[in-house]
């Protein structure tokens, strides 16, 4: 008993150097000082080196005229725009391909992940083969596969495939008519908004009624009728104000209409299919993580298999799925920088061109790093909010 007390009290009575609290603070301070000194040394070295080599530095170049053109321009951009504008175009292109890729990868991933647990032998095996093939190939090869596939298989512009609704498919991309909204078309959008609002209201009322009385209401069909029917009605009432700009043959390419280039298509497809194989495994793990007793209990209550999946299994699986899903979304966004290999003008490609035209290597790389960091942090933050809402609420 006595000896134990001695051991417990020794640290506080011992010399100053042996105090674990003081030691802790001391070593933390050392680490911080070394870190700050290291960073300062690197920055100092870079500045000194740039000056010694007579290389201009600073971010002033962002306001200069870029002078080069960009193939895919989601916002107004010409060669007269600034380097800063060019980088923003690149950023938007990255966000477009990452956003579209995330949505598609999630859909394919959920379908394949659930398919791997199907009772149907064929579906199960097809999904397994899909996952094993795409998961085990480097993403760059998948991108090249789609890109060379697109270029090799599709015909030249003169012999384009004619698709329905005045669309065309050729080596230069997918062309479809561009909608031109005429006078009075605002009515259609208002009708669409009203339709969505009414559908939401119907869903809520139906849910409350089911809670209260147990009676069900065909929410899906009613909502569909409201969301599609109302705008159509408005379209007819306002005198059919919509016209289309169809793509037409010219000397070199198809002109007019709306064009999606093969670079975007192959990058988007490759990222979606590649990431979907990982998401499928995450979804499968999530579903298997829900105890079998839950399914059996739901079955015992008389729920149909579809309802069991939708109401019992998936909500619980989501709690397991969301954290690793966030990592996959971040991976997809970062993998989009592989676009440079096939010439899709994403952030890396454009910042690289700017870096080369201006010679501002340090600044260019810094901009890229900071922007990707911000994109990743925002994605994480959004997914954390989703995760918090999905988390188990103790009652």
């Amino acid at each position: 008993m006595a000896s134990q007390e001695v051991i417990r009290e020794e640290p506080s009575r011992g010399s100053f150097i042996n105090d674990p609290k003081v030691r802790g603070i001391f070593f933390q301070a050392v680490v911080v000082i070394l870190l700050v000194a290291g960073v300062w040394w690197i920055v100092h070295n870079v500045i000194e080196n740039l000056q010694r080599l007579h290389i201009a530095s600073g971010f002033g170049f962002l306001k200069n005229r870029a002078g080069f053109d960009i193939p895919v321009r989601p916002i107004a951009y010409t060669s007269d725009s600034t380097y800063g504008d060019a980088i923003i175009v690149g950023l938007i292109n990255t966000l477009i391909v990452a956003g579209a890729g995330i949505i598609t990868a999630t859909i394919i991933g959920f379908v394949v992940g659930i398919g791997r647990l199907s009772r149907n032998w064929l579906i199960r095996k097809i999904c397994t083969v899909y996952v094993e093939v795409f998961r085990n190939i480097p993403p760059l090869l998948v991108i090249f596969f789609w890109y060379s596939g697109v270029l090799a298989v599709l015909p030249a512009p003169r012999d384009s495939f004619n698709l329905p609704f005045g669309s065309f498919l050729n080596q230069r991309g997918f062309y479809f008519p561009r909608a031109i909204w005429g006078e009075g078309s605002w009515l259609i959008f208002v009708a669409l908004l009203v339709g969505i609002a009414m559908a939401w209201f119907v869903a809520r009322t139906a849910r409350q009624r089911q809670m209260a009385t147990g009676q069900q209401f065909p929410v899906l069909w009613t909502s569909l009728a409201l969301i599609v029917g109302l705008p159509l009605l408005a379209y007819a009432l306002s005198g059919f104000p919509l016209s289309f700009d169809f793509p037409k043959q010219s000397t070199f390419n198809l002109t007019g209409g709306f064009q999606i280039g093969p670079e975007f298509l192959s990058l988007y497809l490759a990222l979606s299919f590649y990431t979907a194989s990982f998401i499928a495994e995450i979804v499968r793990a999530g579903i298997l993580g829900v105890s079998k007793g839950q399914t059996e209990a739901a079955g015992a209550l008389g729920l149909r298999p579809g309802s069991i999946l939708r109401l019992v299994v998936v909500p619980q699986a989501m709690r397991i799925v969301i954290p690793p899903l966030t990592s996959q979304y971040l991976n997809l966004t970062k993998n989009s920088s592989l676009a440079i290999a096939i010439g899709y003008p994403d952030l890396t490609a454009i910042a690289g061109t700017v870096l080369n035209q201006t010679g501002q290597a340090v600044e260019g790389v810094l901009i890229m790093m900071v922007v990707y960091l911000i994109i990743s942090l925002v994605t994480s933050a959004v997914m954390n909010v989703v995760n918090a809402r999905m988390a188990l609420v103790e009652r």
Binding site: A37, I55, P71, T353, N356
Partner: protein, 342 residues
């Protein structure tokens, strides 16, 4: 603790500055025993590996000429293939000693990028190439409105292209890749209608396409593209060695000194030839430059004179068959002119 950290830091900074002050490129090159030469990733006639992996072309030979001047041995060169995007950073950071990579001399590169161009080893201009079989009837660049144009990113070519189409009020769709091979593959696959780069490059690239005979280079030249080697700023001695290697190549051609006759001409009666070849009594031309006095002999033995280098790599002795044109010596109506070696 803080004092120690600052002490360590100060010592490190001082050490670094000391090394920066003492090292010269010539000293570094001699210490490692070879010249690190930045070349393209493969442009026929300028710098491209042959079937044995040896780098061939004017740009590669120029680095051999500098190695011959410094070491008396043209083989003491190591080549670093660089994309357009990597080239300046590689030179700035000291990864390479000479950038000899069909690079256009511009004021911005000379000033803001911290480079020094040593001269123009090839006067070029930007042109367009099309597939004449797929596009019959197109025989001028002014008919290219609406075309998809393949171009390498981060080049002056990319900027000239934008300027040319804007000035002529024409539309185009740029198809931009980072690496030359990617541009070649995309053009060959029909992703774009037009290929634009320096005209000499177009002739070289045409040879690598699947059906070279189908492609024609349009007559328009839309820009001045003086291509030449560059070195880092801040080392005048190295700058002079590289620059005078280039002038020595021109001077040798002007005086009729060739790979075949350089040994005989050492005993020539012509005082100018004797002076250039370092055979003058008590000569200090070579040693003042920082190399041996028979540096020009070594250069010509290694790669020949400028004319021989040209004909072997891009002229009549090569598949490219490019005429000398404005790259002829000034005595033959061209632009190649060297200040006197004396």
């Amino acid at each position: 603790m803080k004092h120690i950290a600052i002490g360590i830091l100060g010592a490190a900074a001082l050490g670094w500055m000391a090394s920066a002050a003492s090292a010269t490129t010539l000293g570094d090159v001699k210490a490692k025993g070879f010249i690190q030469c930045g070349v393209s990733t493969g442009l026929a006639g300028f710098s491209a590996p042959d079937d044995k992996g040896d780098w061939k072309g004017i740009d590669a030979d120029f680095c051999r000429a500098v190695a011959a001047a410094v070491f008396g041995d043209g083989t003491k060169v190591k080549f670093t293939p660089l994309s357009a995007k990597e080239r300046f950073t590689a030179l700035q950071s000291g990864e390479i000693d000479i950038l000899s990579r069909n690079t256009t001399w511009t004021i911005n590169r000379d000033t803001a990028l911290g480079l020094n161009f040593i001269g123009v080893t090839y006067y070029d201009g930007q042109g367009f190439m099309i597939n004449a079989k797929k596009l019959p009837g197109v025989n001028s660049a002014l008919q290219l409105s609406g075309a998809a144009v393949c171009v390498q990113s981060g080049t002056t070519t990319e900027l000239n292209l934008a300027d040319y189409f804007k000035a002529n009020k024409m539309e185009y769709n740029p198809v931009v890749f980072e690496k030359l091979e990617e541009v070649n593959a995309a053009y060959d696959a029909g992703r774009c209608d037009v290929y634009t780069t320096d005209q000499s490059g177009l002739y070289g690239i045409r040879l690598t396409l699947s059906a070279p005979a189908d492609h024609v280079v349009l007559p328009e030249i839309i820009s001045k593209e003086p291509l030449g080697p560059a070195v880092r700023q801040g080392d005048d001695q190295w700058y002079h060695i590289v620059k005078w290697t280039y002038f020595a190549l021109l001077q040798a051609e002007e005086l009729g000194i060739t790979q075949a006759n350089v040994e005989e001409l050492k005993t020539s009666d012509n005082p100018e030839i004797k002076r250039v070849l370092g055979q003058e009594a008590e000569t200090k031309i070579g040693t003042d430059l920082g190399v041996s006095n028979d540096w020009v002999v070594n250069i010509v033995k290694a790669v020949g004179n400028y004319g021989e280098m040209f004909e072997r790599n891009v002229g009549t002795g090569s598949p490219l068959k490019i005429a000398r044109g404005i790259n002829a010596l000034w005595t033959k109506g061209g632009l190649q002119y060297a200040p006197p070696i004396r």
